[in-house]
């Protein structure tokens, strides 16, 4: 058990290191260096070559790629993502609070989505083929077929324009307390929540339908064990295990959804910084945000693996 857990810790670490390398390669090995990328051709033409060389030297861009990769990895280990190219602000200072804010949003969504999705998924599977299942399954497809920014704008139209109970955009500032922030952004939470519930409920329904078709469920029914015991004590753990293996996919989708929704509601999170970073071509900011979200996905995936270890004794053999 312990060995199996340690193995997964190690695997997660390896994945993180590989992701860091990958992020570096995707952004810095490509044609041109960070400076070429962040300045337009016109700007480069304006700067005298000597000064450009000096700028590159200051930024360490004249060093060979492997050397820069090593210093990038070293920086990541000490949580130093470098400075912005233009304003020379430390990246950590830029993304600190937004990272916290995005995590608050993600946490709120997860806290609400998991129990709701469990209820819907189980109900749909238990009453498979009945009205509740048809409504839930059809609703789920619709739910994840509508882009988040459409759900967000429609919610704004209804609850901020037509019937103004909530503000259309979030007025809280970046370093407000967590609860102040959440109180200001119910529409944002609901928007991400809809997609999340649709995705998770569908996953759980599939897992539950499969679990309820298992031989052991038939044996229990033939023994006259009450249905609630079969559903909750026997089938549910067996349904959750396969759903957990799809956790990485869900976590990635969650981060994508949050990025978009932050833009719709002007929520002061990483999504805002990301778009600003990409449009201004601040390579270090984009790198840091990509790394943070990848780390979040890896962490959620690790938690899912631990849950699988707890639920499925067959996986405990190292």
């Amino acid at each position: 058990m312990l060995i199996a857990a340690l193995r997964r810790v190690l695997l997660s670490c390896i994945t993180l290191v590989m992701l860091t390398v990958f992020i570096f390669i995707a952004t810095e090995i490509m044609p041109g260096d960070a400076l070429d990328v962040s300045l337009s051709a016109d700007e480069i033409a304006m700067i005298p070559p000597e000064r450009l060389a000096k700028m590159k030297q200051d930024l360490g861009l004249d060093r060979p790629a492997p050397e820069r990769l090593l210093s990038f990895l070293g920086g990541v280990l000490t949580l130093d993502f470098g400075k912005t190219l233009i304003s020379k602000t430390p990246v950590t200072a830029i993304i600190g609070y937004p990272l916290r804010n995005s995590l608050i949003l993600a946490g709120a969504v997860l806290l609400l989505a998991i129990p709701l999705a469990l209820t819907i998924g189980i109900a749909a599977a238990v009453w498979q083929g009945r009205a509740i299942d048809n409504i839930a399954s059809t609703g789920a497809i619709i739910g994840y077929s509508i882009p988040e920014f459409v759900i967000g704008t429609v919610l704004v139209m209804i609850f901020a324009v037509a019937w103004p109970v909530f503000p259309a955009t979030i007025t809280a500032s970046t370093n407000d307390a967590a609860l102040t922030l959440l109180a200001a952004s119910p529409l944002a939470v609901v928007t991400v929540l809809i997609g999340s519930i649709a995705y998770l409920a569908r996953l759980l329904r599939t897992g539950m339908v499969d679990a309820l078709a298992k031989d052991f469920v038939e044996r229990l029914r033939l023994t006259g064990i009450p249905e609630w015991r079969i559903v909750f004590l026997h089938a549910l753990p067996a349904a959750i295990v396969p759903s957990l293996t799809a956790m990485a996919l869900y976590a990635a989708a969650l981060v994508s959804g949050i990025v978009v929704v932050e833009l719709v509601f002007a929520y002061p999170g990483l999504g805002q910084e990301l778009v600003r970073g990409v449009t201004r071509r601040e390579v270090h900011v984009v790198q840091a945000i990509a790394l943070c979200s990848a780390a979040l996905v890896v962490a959620l995936n690790f938690l899912a693996d631990m849950a699988i270890l707890a639920l499925d004794p067959r996986t405990r053999r190292a």
């Binding site: 193995r7 298992k214 031989d215 052991f216 038939e218 044996r219 229990l220 029914r221 033939l222 023994t223 006259g224 064990i225 009450p226 015991r229 004590l233 026997h234 753990p237 067996a238 295990v241 639920l311 499925d312 004794p313 067959r314």
Partner: protein, 555 residues
């Protein structure tokens, strides 16, 4: 054979239908009538799709999705299953009627210790408190002959052996002392030795508890062992029923005769050994181990070998039978000989020339000379290719034939196997299992092989079809002078086809010899055990001293 007390099962004209996706109802059980007295035992036999499992589940008022009662009456323990409420059916289940399903591993909840699963039955159905239930579970486990009954309950299903799992399932079924025990293929997933032990346990429990027993199986030997009465089903109907001793001795229905004919009958003669054949294939000291890929550290190659120093020789035109239970290594032997996996040590010779282990490393001519027919006929044909494409492929690959002559040759091969040219354009799914296997055989013979490896080629087929396919294979083999290595668990097939036989157990060759000699006087206890468990039906048929009246005591 009327009993004074009320029968435990009374079934008259019962029909059960299943609705398909388009709403059409297909009858799976068709006007079935029988009765079973308390404490009696009855076997239901038939091939897959005969409706026997559906009937068994109906005894507990359980129909799988889409099923419904389609007429007739079914009374179990005085309760009218066909028309009662779910509550009263549930009052039967576990308490009065219990079920032992087919696959013990899948039938136990994998994430729950086995002790708790039996405990759950006692607590939820009998209302025992925890301490009492725990104590009872230990007693039950001891009664079932499980080792360390006090502690084994803490284990998970995957930590038990197949036989132990089935004992746990039986313990759960017997936990509330039911009056009727229904078993669905209870020993199919077990090896012969364990099967014998589990059957003994079932028999013992029945006598000790006085429960009536319904045993569903495709294996007539199991019925001969355990049951007093037998009911033979085909396509949802009962074709014959009566006392086991009577039915097996003098089957009236032709279908029952076919089923019995497929069981081991040593009254004829096995093919004789042609002495002085030059060996075509010889294998020396073949050892194979499945590699367990370790995540960290080197690959583990210290495990038990699947094949352990196997020697064999096969003469030209000879049929060598390879028998053994599942896990004995016989399938692995086939794969190594075919060249799909490489043995870690040993020599493979064809006509006294050493050949490479893997097919990919052999000369094309060598690959052509060794062909294989696989167990599952459907999976051995590509579902996206027509029969013509499948058979023409080796003709074009090995002989460079053009499309026209390859097609003609394919048609003639099919004709040898009793299939007309209209089959050329069909896809595998449009064929029956027997036809699919014939195509696979035709594809193998298209390469004009010297050696044909057949791995359980009839085990997926119905008894009557299997007989025909074997007959056609034998004719083709003789026509082409092909040597055959026939791998099977079915001793009747060996007796019919093979002149020599080799017995494998745990990767070791236990004995080799002329089929007639080995079957008449097995040297090894393992072989004797295989033979005796396969010929129980026959012994019953020949034994005239059998009790005519069933044991109807202890009710």
């Amino acid at each position: 054979m009327q009993q004074a007390s009320n029968p435990i099962i009374e079934c008259s004209g019962l029909s059960i239908g299943y609705a398909d996706m388009l709403g059409k109802v297909a009858r799976v059980v068709d006007e079935v009538s029988f009765r079973l007295g308390p404490g009696q035992s009855m076997g239901i036999v038939g091939e897959s799709g005969s409706g026997k499992s559906t009937l068994a589940r109906a005894l507990l008022g359980y129909l799988r999705g889409g099923g419904r009662f389609d007429g007739g009456r079914l009374l179990v323990d005085g309760i009218e299953i066909t028309s009662t409420t779910f509550t009263s059916i549930r009052s039967l289940r576990g308490l009065r009627v219990a079920m032992v399903p087919q696959n013990p591993l899948a039938s136990l909840t994998y994430h729950m210790p086995v002790g708790r699963q039996v405990e759950e039955v006692l607590r939820s159905r009998r209302g025992l408190v925890r301490v009492e239930a725990e104590r009872r579970v230990v007693e039950l486990f001891a009664e079932m002959g499980l080792p360390h009954p006090e502690t084994i309950g803490r284990r998970y299903p995957h930590q038990l052996s197949g036989g132990q799992r089935q004992r746990v399932v039986i313990a759960a079924a017997l936990a509330c002392d039911p009056a009727l025990l229904v078993l669905d293929e209870p020993t199919t997933a077990l090896d012969k030795t364990t099967e014998a032990q589990v059957l003994e346990l079932i028999q013992h429990m029945r006598v000790a508890r006085g429960a009536a027993l319904v045993l569903v199986t495709h294996d007539l030997n199991v019925v001969a062992d355990v049951c007093e009465r037998v009911l033979v089903m085909k396509e949802g109907r009962i074709v014959e029923q009566g006392l086991v001793s009577a039915v097996f001795r003098q089957p009236e229905d032709t279908y029952t005769q076919t089923l019995l004919g497929a069981s081991l009958d040593l009254s004829g003669a096995a093919p004789s050994v042609n002495a002085g054949l030059k060996p075509l294939v010889s294998v020396q000291d073949l050892t194979f181990r499945y590699q367990q890929s370790g995540w960290f550290g080197p690959k583990n190659s210290t495990g038990k070998p699947t094949l352990d120093g196997v020697n064999l020789s096969l003469g030209r035109g000879e049929v060598l039978g390879v028998i053994g239970e599942s896990g004995s290594g016989k399938t692995t032997l086939g794969l190594v000989l075919a060249g799909l996996i490489a043995a870690e040590k040993g020599v493979l010779m064809l006509e006294e020339q050493s050949i490479a282990m893997l097919a990919g490393k052999r000369q094309p001519a060598l690959r052509r000379r060794i062909q294989t027919v696989f167990q599952d006929p459907l999976s051995s044909l590509n579902p996206r290719q027509t029969v013509a494409t499948a058979i023409m492929r080796p003709l074009r690959h090995f002989f460079g034939m053009n499309s026209k002559s390859a097609r003609e040759k394919a048609a003639s091969l099919l004709a040898d196997l009793g299939l007309g040219p209209e089959f050329l354009e069909r896809y595998p799914r449009q064929l029956s299992g027997g036809q699919q296997q014939r195509v696979a055989i035709a594809r193998a013979f298209a390469a004009e092989p010297d050696v044909l490896i057949c791995d359980e080629i009839t085990s997926a087929l119905d008894a009557s079809v299997a007989g025909q396919v074997l007959g056609e294979l034998d004719a083709l083999r003789q026509k082409h002078g092909t040597s055959v290595i026939l791998i099977t668990h079915d001793l009747a097939v060996i007796w019919r086809m093979a002149s020599r036989v080799m017995v494998l157990k745990d990767g070791l060759v236990i004995e080799t010899g002329a089929t007639a000699d080995v079957f008449a006087a097995p040297k090894d206890a393992y072989t004797a055990n295989l033979l005796s468990s396969a010929s129980r039906v026959r012994r019953l048929g020949q034994d005239t001293t059998l009790i005519e009246e069933p044991l109807a005591h202890a009710v």
